[in-house]
Chain length 436, copies 4
Amino acid sequence: MQLTEKQPTHKEDHTLATRLTTEPVAQNISATERYLKIRSQTEALCAPLAVEDMGVQPMEGASPPKWHLAHTSWFFETFILKAFGADYQTFHPMFEHLFNSYYNGVGTPYPRAARGNLSRPTVAEVQAYRRHVDARMGDLLEVQGDNAEIRKRLDLGMNHEQQHQELILTDLKYNFGHNPLHPVYRSDLYRPAAGHAQELTFSSYAAGMTSVGATEDFCFDNELPRHPVYLGAFQLADRLITNAEYLAFIDDRGYHNVSHWLSDGWTCVGQQGWQAPLYWKLLDGSWCEYTLSGLKPLVANAPVTHVSGFEADAFARWAGARLPTEHEWERAAGEHSVSVFANLLEADYLHPQPAPTGAGVKQLFGDGWEWTSSSYGPYPGYRALAGTLGKFMASQLVLRGGSCATPRDHIRHSYRNFFYPPDRWQFSCIRLARDL
Amino acid sequence: MQLTEKQPTHKEDHTLATRLTTEPVAQNISATERYLKIRSQTEALCAPLAVEDMGVQPMEGASPPKWHLAHTSWFFETFILKAFGADYQTFHPMFEHLFNSYYNGVGTPYPRAARGNLSRPTVAEVQAYRRHVDARMGDLLEVQGDNAEIRKRLDLGMNHEQQHQELILTDLKYNFGHNPLHPVYRSDLYRPAAGHAQELTFSSYAAGMTSVGATEDFCFDNELPRHPVYLGAFQLADRLITNAEYLAFIDDRGYHNVSHWLSDGWTCVGQQGWQAPLYWKLLDGSWCEYTLSGLKPLVANAPVTHVSGFEADAFARWAGARLPTEHEWERAAGEHSVSVFANLLEADYLHPQPAPTGAGVKQLFGDGWEWTSSSYGPYPGYRALAGTLGKFMASQLVLRGGSCATPRDHIRHSYRNFFYPPDRWQFSCIRLARDL
Amino acid sequence: MQLTEKQPTHKEDHTLATRLTTEPVAQNISATERYLKIRSQTEALCAPLAVEDMGVQPMEGASPPKWHLAHTSWFFETFILKAFGADYQTFHPMFEHLFNSYYNGVGTPYPRAARGNLSRPTVAEVQAYRRHVDARMGDLLEVQGDNAEIRKRLDLGMNHEQQHQELILTDLKYNFGHNPLHPVYRSDLYRPAAGHAQELTFSSYAAGMTSVGATEDFCFDNELPRHPVYLGAFQLADRLITNAEYLAFIDDRGYHNVSHWLSDGWTCVGQQGWQAPLYWKLLDGSWCEYTLSGLKPLVANAPVTHVSGFEADAFARWAGARLPTEHEWERAAGEHSVSVFANLLEADYLHPQPAPTGAGVKQLFGDGWEWTSSSYGPYPGYRALAGTLGKFMASQLVLRGGSCATPRDHIRHSYRNFFYPPDRWQFSCIRLARDL
Amino acid sequence: MQLTEKQPTHKEDHTLATRLTTEPVAQNISATERYLKIRSQTEALCAPLAVEDMGVQPMEGASPPKWHLAHTSWFFETFILKAFGADYQTFHPMFEHLFNSYYNGVGTPYPRAARGNLSRPTVAEVQAYRRHVDARMGDLLEVQGDNAEIRKRLDLGMNHEQQHQELILTDLKYNFGHNPLHPVYRSDLYRPAAGHAQELTFSSYAAGMTSVGATEDFCFDNELPRHPVYLGAFQLADRLITNAEYLAFIDDRGYHNVSHWLSDGWTCVGQQGWQAPLYWKLLDGSWCEYTLSGLKPLVANAPVTHVSGFEADAFARWAGARLPTEHEWERAAGEHSVSVFANLLEADYLHPQPAPTGAGVKQLFGDGWEWTSSSYGPYPGYRALAGTLGKFMASQLVLRGGSCATPRDHIRHSYRNFFYPPDRWQFSCIRLARDL
């Protein structure tokens, strides 16, 4: 098996290649330039929104765009400006309370579930807050830009902001996708022609030792330490499961047959009344899907997305396969990360796209986060960054590979995302694995 | 007892009298003029708000201002324009679903608890909806303005809109009052000087027959039929209970002594953690109260407001008294309604004010809705308007007299408002009664 | 209209008359004899039960028989033996905690919802507790039996025990009625032959003053003070609504038509999935009803029972009528109470029976508690017994007349029972009223 | 490090060794003998109980002893007697509904949460059911005892019954432990003298490959397939954490310091109000612990038990260590299983005991189930038995080693028990691990 074939190639996709309007953030620019670029990218994502859209929290887990704008600024204010800025004046004394989402032992953060009630501060006030933080950050970096601890926190803050870029899109989609008017975020997003997907094939991996964990300069603490693991022989599907394939599961009464489901998943199906992925709607007998371009006919050969971990697992069992472990996924992804043309945020589809043709494992990066069967826990020998304890939760699953809403320079082969098995509002997809 | 002394007089209150900026809607103007005046009054109430404030629903019962603007328009559109307008074109086919709060057997209204998630339609779109409806209503009234059924529905629609005017203010207050920034709705609202209230006295009413129910041209169906009732001798307090008096209840550990409370009320105290009225806050050892002018020191001689029916009942029992029945209240209010200078919406305080001095029963109208001990049910011989069934609920109490947020020509001596005993977000106050 | 005709007569019902096995407790016996008779009556109700049946609490509101046995003993122990018994030794120090259902400011009563978890004390231990209390009560009454306060508390305790006699039967029925084995409490209960009920007629009452409230020596505090009320002219149905009549409501899709229902009732129908009265079951296309004799075919002309206040109200509206107020009911019941042959506990049917034929209002006492439209509140001038505050709850309705499980000398024309509108596990029935 | 030292030795514990009253079930007896021995062992566990204790379900997860008695019989009836017994007559047609806890696509099992409401069938009827099943099983085994499929199902059924033996004890303990009377299950259970535990030491294990999974004839499907895993170097504590050590965590305000806790665990602490392990009570300033012998002073050097997975994890983090993975535990346990003198069910303590002295890893088997950090999922290559799908749940943790309530011939080195991280009612204990 040639691991070099593993990356999605998309090389033929000239249409895609030529319409990249947002350049990936280059690595050779100055820290300040990179900071400002990422900050403006966040704001660009909000540009198509009405003021009204900025404040809505359609469920506890989906914060308002305005809150994301303020919270990411609070991060830089708290961990850099207050810590290192001489005579730094807080923008507003109450913002610490309103926009802190961390346990910190000092006071009580504003209740997460009530973020959508904060009509004040207004959007204009939050934008003023951002400009204030950006100006002070510029001043500080000019003077102390070489301070190693500041550089470390700056990297962390920028990656943190990129995480919230993705959440702005998925939280907004949850809002719009539940509005009976089916609002359009952007009507200019590219929609592929329908067509048949290549038949599902699998690549094989021999049993043996492999190493997992971060190899790059920047990573989150949950990717460390890099360490060896033994993997039995396995196969990994060469592409993501398509809407057409998932529809066969539905048509086979997959949601009504307990034998496909984990116990907790079956309970979830009953309680939530699941009959299809999150944004699917049956209109006049035809399946449609809400996308950020509005309600559209389902594209048969595009990846099924917005499925829960329970649905991914049940589909896999129905299909005679299973979900990969996160280590299997990482072995397939190799030590290098992402090709230029993966369907990540900068590709500007904002929706998973049909797999390119050709041999080998495709779509490992971008398109949609891939559910694994691995429970989210610390790696052996893990050392937490001070103040970040508690992030390993006992009942979440790891997802890998990034999605169409993940910034290109944010994703890595060792990147571990994590959500609860019932969660469906991320761009989450299915890749199958099998024992050999 | 002189019933002629019963009305609040406020006559000395020249300051109040001269600053009435909003004229009560005159009765001698044309139907169209009155319609437009009430419609613009609703919009005037929203004028001080930011766009962000228009969409927030801080609890299920408190709808966003934008929803109120749309819902009241939907009422005219549905019951007049669609019913009587030749060739009337619906403004938007989905607004029926979004802005209907009635059971109608056709489809399912949009879930009440999710109104705050509707970032679309935008405020501007809702305003366009209002202009559309107003224009078509003008056209229709010009031609069919003498149609008796249309006039009847027009009256109903205008009174319905006035109900929502009050809700716009109380729902907004709930939103702002729970925002840690304590936003100010209007800073120009008059605030009275502190001072001692006149000692609490009672007026006496002999036992005997009395008649209750509507005497005026327009009323809601729950005020009919007017009918006789027998009342034992009773006394009614001459003014509302003040903040100072309620504070004495708190200081006497009123919230911690089960013997003052109804069983369900005691359960409520425990579950909700009540320690004081809704908007009271203890800051540095001093009680403050959130008002539409922001957080202000508590005014000792102003009426306590935003208390639940359970708190009103417990206070009364602690005070060796009881709440009046709705019939006792109505007997005291007499057959005529409201004096010119009562503290209603047009007085433009938007907060209960200290009682005027002088003999007799004061503050019956305006200032705050007065909890009664009467369960909300139909009068003997009640006939429901078609389609309004179901409004009599089994576990609500009647409140009487209107508040500082009630339009002057909306309130009557026979007017029956109704809320659940735990509800606190209306301008609800306490008047005591006693057996003789 | 002849008020003298209003009582149920049952005179022709020789079968019933001759099979009275349990004599009503005579008034001319000594206090001790009466005490012991009532105590043994309680135990006789438990005689048909297995030990296993004694501990089950099938819902929070339905306590285990064993708890009733202990709680009623705790009442005598606490309010008489501890208060008046020289050197009285408590049977067990923890029973105060386990079997007290009152707020008393001292400690926390054992959680009501967990009574079914108390496998200890055993039934035998509770019976020993009863014998201990009875022996001490005998000693005390021998010496202090003329003490007026003791006599008063004794009366209260005996009436309290009678209330729990009824609850033992209804709580047990709830348990058995939800067991898929449909256990039989007693197979020897008389079952009437089917037959058609007399057509529903109404008696008329002219408008005028009437007095309501207790006239007898013993009553509960909620029946006082007796006081005058004015009633408009009304009509009262001459008998209870039958199963056949209620079936017509069901067949007319009464549970699916919102226009019959109070708002809260409609919500209840949806949440609870009500399709019929509590113990009705459709077996092979025929309606059956769980009774204390097991699952039986529905008797068409017997009263419908185990309906909620919401269902009673909806049925009445569907039928073009309404529920009576409690005062209307009491006017019809007159100042005297119950005839010898009413279907009360001693009639030993333990199920509502078809109305006797003949003119006039029948079934006012016994058969089933009759839902009224009256909210349960204190009478004007009410004075609570010390320690009994809190029993007036804000959202319960009054029921009148007693049921087939009410001891004969417990019920009165002024007796006010009260339950929440959704409650269905009592023998609750429907009598219609109309305005004239 | 000598792996041969890993087993608990208890050899010195003559007191323990000599008081074994219940012989482990020998392997060389006939299938019928073994079946009857296990069946009677189940009943022996219920012998000290009152009839009242047999029906109580103190929480949804803790079924009544009577239900366990019936459910285990239902297992043999359904999977052996109905499947293989010629002309087998079902004992009662409704028992399938009442005592089936499996999804089977046919009908709906009786609601788990309502098992405590089933006062019928009575205990005597359930015992008759057991006798019926045992008699028919004897007949069947006499004729078809060599049938391989029957033998397989018989093994499964006996192991299933042993699982329920442990649950009878832990469910009963939950009931008694929440009864204010603190009932005693058996007063004759041995209680060790207090004393200091040996200092906590760790055994070291070098990095390398190891194999995990079943090696014995009988195992559950979740122990297969046996497969290789790579483990980094680690250390494992030589004994379980003691009450004294856990008390130090409490005294250090471990329950009040968020930094020790997983996010979900911290939420749990707040919601449940945890301040100590499940059965600890502070009486007059001294810690006591409810045991099956009643409320007893805490034994300092006995293992802390009845802690949740969250508490175990938080303690480990506080102690600068971590929980072991299930594979680390299994490596330490080796391929052989349990020594004769481990504190398992037959040792008849029914409570974890202080570790024996001496070198090496002790208490691996018995005393208490040991929480691991491993999420409960299928092994690579897992093949489910037909009909047992759905047992792998997404959010449970694996526990290893058995407890003082586990039958000796039920536990194995490869045995995987699993509970949710908040669960505390099993005999669950803490063993620490560390990275090397």
